[in-house]
Subunit: 228 residues, 2 copies
Amino acid sequence: MPRDTLTRDQIVRTAVELLDAEGLEGLNMRALGKRLDSAATAVYWHVKNKDNLVLLATDQVWGELKLPDLDAVDWRTAATGMAIDLYEMFTRHPWLVQAFAAHVLYGESKARHDDHSLAVYEAAGFAGAQADQAASAVFTYVLGNAAGAAATASLARKLARDDTTAEEQFQDAMAKAQEIAMRYPRLRARLDTSAAASYAAAPDKAFEFGLQALLDGLEQQIAGQPAG
Amino acid sequence: MPRDTLTRDQIVRTAVELLDAEGLEGLNMRALGKRLDSAATAVYWHVKNKDNLVLLATDQVWGELKLPDLDAVDWRTAATGMAIDLYEMFTRHPWLVQAFAAHVLYGESKARHDDHSLAVYEAAGFAGAQADQAASAVFTYVLGNAAGAAATASLARKLARDDTTAEEQFQDAMAKAQEIAMRYPRLRARLDTSAAASYAAAPDKAFEFGLQALLDGLEQQIAGQPAG
DNA sequence: CCGGCGACTTGAACAATGTGCAAGTCCTTT
DNA sequence: AAAGGACTTGCACATTGTTCAAGTCGCCGG
């Protein structure tokens, strides 16, 4: 009977769990080791270093994405679906956004996704470099939106972990931020209104609004300058 | 004559220098202390902790931005200008993107900018929450674009610092990434083409392309549903 | 069946870094 | 000149990534 040994795959999946629970700065090798019931340094036999582990975790997560069948749906439906799926992936795994800003990421699943994304915009009528720019515009839009969610998630974790200390600091920061906002008419209006709560609750609405605007704009580009 | 003493402002400005040069992970209190000709811990008298320092540095940088005069230019020119300025700020200070994904940021200069941004989209004809969503869409688009630049900058720094070790790892990673890309037709095409070089050289083009598409889309929204 | 080899794990150790603390040093105020 | 506050310093500790030499385990050739 073969010895019960660690797997690279097992390590990566556990790392994703930890990243989801504790964020990018919450992932450390000792905690990972503990969760794997092994010494922290055992991981180094399977993975080069922490950066490499994050790279692998990233691509693992990318593999969650299902790609739309381009023969079955029109490009706009496909583009919307891919963008929403991506956005949801980022909100499920907020650390991804940080990883994206810190390292150049690549991997099998991401390549698969990128290729499919290009196919969508080629199907829409963009040729060559234009398809690149369209795909990249939508991707970066999604990424930017997710950044807000990531920051919020990081804050929420901090509040959940440190019972009381962080709570005060948070209140303090909130108070300072509000005090600043009160001095700017448009920001103030958004604090005063009873609508304030609904704003905060609806980053997803803002995301879809902007996404449709962006896709509208792209569609317009094609109309103005049809398939070359 | 008063003693020559550290200033909060001086500390923040030095921190920005260090952040620009070494990135977010390159900023550490001892290095900061050395650059200020003082003990690392002297900083703690002026600033609560590192996170707080980054927050202050962020707002310092936000202060670089000039805001367009809304009585002098139409909204679209103003929106384009603000977006481009923002993008340039992010590329000048790539660590900002990481900071944005990791912490919830606020400050005087950012509030000023946000307020002005809302004014632009209200001038465009968006009311209330719609102006919020429009402004947020453009902002997040810019942020997302900057993430790519930030990752590239981080990589470039790493290559510049570690003379030879990182060089090999980079070549290795490049080779792996290319090997993957070669298995996907559209990605492969973009490696094969002589155009490959021009792609890589033109993230700014992609940025402006998407920005105009997004603004086109927003404009269309107003046209379809005029000022309420 | 056994000896060794390669796969994998472990624990100790080191360097880098954020930060608290007690003791200093310097200027201003009375 | 004495006192008190503003600021600085050095030391110390905890946390974390990573290396390394020494283990342990199971298989395989003899």
